[in-house]
């Protein structure tokens, strides 16, 4: 059954492109008495055959929701009654929203910064060793693991058994050998936030490393040689000569991770579910949508997330324009 639907779905798609193009050639054949006129007509129509499905899907799945969310944010829980700015007023006064906002800002600062920094260090180190490719693969590997899988992995590290039992979480075992008391890490405010961030940093460092390593290798040899001739130490060479030349790439890595951070909710959902002061916007939105069934408030929170990525969106579009000119 499932297999049949898969086949129908995929082949239906292929069939659309094939048949629609055949039809176009049949209606306006590029030969016969009207060949010239027909070719021109086909040329005008064909781009829209190619683009049609993409445009429909994009407008339906990304453009329409933006406007619909704005509309919903001015309506009550079921989306029927217009209530003006009530949702926004509620949001600003809501303690949980403020907590999420505070945490999100922390996430936005810490995760991109540390992922990029570790990625840069990892790139610099792995580029200089003979087994660099293997090392890169290992650091890059968490990229393939789902957030929820990563949450299980790290929950195991932060595990707390309580007094009198043998600690099986790595962090507590480590703490114990250092002579300190084991702690229930995930309930420990405000540090639990940073422990959740560690999971995402663990995942994203590989991404930063791969891109920054390519950028580092693209630096013109002459600048490095000049630095060596002038007597720069390896550290100076790295921080003063190499890094300034890849600022552009660092910015791209930074913004890519920033966008991801705003969308992450699986990690928080699986590890603390927003308890103990660790709520974030994406999970708060999920809560209001599914637990409280309040489309209005959930949409309002989603719009805040959208608002936070808008500067990046504008920056991206401007860059893309510059490139294509």
């Amino acid at each position: 059954m499932a297999l049949a639907t898969i086949i129908v779905g995929v082949f239906g798609c292929v069939a659309y492109y094939y048949l629609s193009n055949l039809a176009l050639d049949a209606v306006y054949p590029p030969r016969g008495p009207d060949a010239g006129r027909n070719i021109n007509k086909a040329l005008a129509i064909r781009p829209w055959l190619f683009l049609g499905p993409a445009i429909i899907l994009l407008s339906l799945y990304l453009v329409y929701p933006v406007f619909n969310s704005v509309w919903l944010s001015f309506h009550d829980a079921s989306g029927d009654r217009f209530i003006g700015f009530d949702n926004y007023v509620w949001m600003i006064g809501d303690e949980k929203f403020r907590e999420s906002m505070r945490n999100n800002i922390l996430w936005l600062i810490v995760v991109p910064a540390l992922s990029t920094l570790f990625g840069l260090i990892a790139a610099a180190i792995t580029d200089r060793i003979s087994w660099g490719n293997f090392a890169k693969s290992m650091i890059f590997m968490p990229m393939a693991i789902s957030f929820i899988g990563a949450a299980v992995i790290w929950k195991f590290i932060y595990d707390y058994r309580g007094e009198g039992s043998q600690e099986i979480g790595l962090l507590n075992a480590l703490i114990e050998t250092l002579g300190a008391e084991p702690k229930a890490w995930l309930t420990l405010q405000p540090w639990n936030n940073f422990l959740l961030m560690a999971v995402l940093i663990w995942i994203q460092t590989g991404f930063a490393m791969v891109i920054l390593s390519a950028a580092l290798r693209g630096i013109p040899e002459e600048t490095i040689e000049a630095g060596i001739l002038d007597g720069a130490s390896p550290l100076q060479l790295f921080w003063r000569i190499k890094v300034p030349q890849i600022w552009g790439t660092i910015a791209v890595v930074w913004t890519t991770i920033t966008i991801l951070v705003l969308k992450v909710f699986d990690i928080v959902l699986a590890m603390t579910n927003g308890q103990w002061g660790s709520q974030v916007l994406a999970n708060l939105m999920f809560d209001w949508m599914f637990r409280a069934n309040d489309a209005g408030r959930a949409s309002t929170i989603a719009l805040v997330i959208m608002l936070m990525v808008t500067p990046i969106m504008i920056w991206n579009i401007r860059n893309a324009r510059k490139e294509s000119l």
Binding site: L3, I6, G9, V10, C13, Y17, P30, A44, R46, P47, W48, F50, A54, I55, L57, L58, Y61, L62, P65, V66, S69, G79, I121, I125, G132, A135, S137, I139, F140, M141, P142, M143, A144, S146, F147, I148, V152, I153, K155, F156, S165, E167, I168, G169, V210, I211, A214, A215, T249, V252, D266, L269, A282, A295, S299, L303, I305, I317, E323, S324
Partner: protein, 379 residues
């Protein structure tokens, strides 16, 4: 020169060592889970996974045979039996008669008890409790023992989660979601990318800008409107709905990556095909599609990993019944219902990450190429 050579050797060492430390730090979390998933469930909670290869000590108590089985031997009342009838394996390291001192005696000792009674436990598990008066009570005497267990590894956790916990079914469900959700956007995006790169039509620049803008629209924004829309047209909790959703969300990146690549194909090839009278559809099918294989492959891997690992979209656009629950959803459910059963969680998590990790290692080259094309100017 000597001095410089010396610093270099030391630097090489430092770099190698820090790389090793970094790699270790990055694989230890996953390694912990992998090791745990093969361990016996009792051992997981009594010792850390880094001790998995060593024997572990366990303290517990067992009860002796019931008082009614006592025999009289030379004026003493005797309860005897073998501890290994009750416990399965291990080696007895110590025993005791009270909970205050559960490991005060080594096997072979005779431990004095209250009311003149005495207990002896041997390494082969045989025990003997003697008393000058008849044993009373309805239950056996408590014998505290400390056993040393050899490390035990098992595949039982895996067979358990795949068959009993329904992970096997979820595995298939995930495939049903992932394959169309990867193929359809590639197809749709490839056609759109070709049109945006090589065809002339009004509004092209605007469309490209729009797609770049849509790259960052957060998924969260789309959920409520789309769920309502899907419910209205009747695909609220259907595979069809989630395929469309993943296609829609993946399209901006797909079009962006593929357009960059396709626009970079040599102009002469495409122009000469046009001169020979090929239509755009023919050019696309015969020339562009085969030439863009690397870009198609890198997006395919992105989308595959993304869809396979997704929890949010699946939670919202699919139900949580047997036929529809995907692996990430199952894992989340297990975290709630079996949160303390590490053997279940560890093996489930491993089953769910094994496919993406294999794909990742097999196709790493394309993945890296795709990342670079998307992030570094020019690509």
């Amino acid at each position: 020169m000597d001095h410089i050579a010396g610093t270099k050797a030391r630097l090489v060492w430092a770099v190698n060592l820090s790389a090793a430390a970094l790699v270790l730090l990055w694989i230890i979390p996953t390694l912990g889970l992998l090791v745990s998933s093969f361990r016996d469930r009792d051992q997981i909670v009594t010792s850390g996974w880094w001790r998995a290869a060593f024997q572990s000590e366990q303290s517990s108590f067992v009860r002796s045979a019931l008082p009614e089985t006592q025999r009289e031997e030379g004026g003493l009342f005797v309860l005897s039996g073998n501890l290994f009838d009750t416990i399965d394996t291990g080696e007895i390291k110590a025993f005791g008669v009270t909970s205050r001192d559960p490991s005060g005696f080594i096997p072979g000792d005779t431990a004095p008890m209250s009311k003149g009674r005495e207990m002896t436990v041997l390494t082969n598990g045989e025990y003997r409790i003697t008393s000058p008066e008849p044993h009373s009570g309805r239950r056996g005497v408590r014998i505290f023992i400390t056993t040393v267990e050899p490390p035990r590894f098992t595949l039982e956790n895996y067979s358990n989660v795949i068959f009993a916990e329904g992970l096997g079914r979820s595995f298939l469900n995930t495939f049903s979601v992932t394959i169309p959700s990867t193929v359809i956007p590639i197809l749709v995006a490839a056609f759109a990318a070709y049109a945006l790169a090589w065809m002339q039509f009004p509004g092209r620049a605007l469309l490209i800008a729009l797609i770049v803008g849509l790259l960052v629209v957060p998924l969260q924004l789309a959920l409520i409107p789309l769920l309502r829309f899907h419910n209205t047209i009747g695909i609220g909790k259907e595979y069809l709905g989630i395929w469309f959703a993943h296609t829609g969300f993946g399209l901006p990146l797909a079009i962006y990556l593929l357009r960059n690549y396709i626009a970079g194909l040599p102009r002469e090839v495409i122009e000469s095909a046009r001169v020979d009278g090929a239509t755009d559809f023919q050019i696309f099918r015969r020339i562009v599609l085969p030439l863009s294989f690397p870009a198609l492959a890198s997006f395919a891997i992105f989308q595959f990993l993304w869809v396979w690992n997704d929890l949010l979209v699946a939670t919202i656009f699919l139900g949580n019944n047997e036929q529809q629950l995907v692996m990430t959803g199952r894992l989340r459910e297990l975290l709630g219902s079996r949160g303390g059963d590490w053997e279940i969680l560890a093996s489930s998590a491993f089953v769910s990450i094994v496919v993406p990790v294999i794909v990742f290692f097999a196709m790493q080259k394309f993945l890296v190429r795709g990342l670079l094309a998307g992030s570094v100017k020019g690509g």
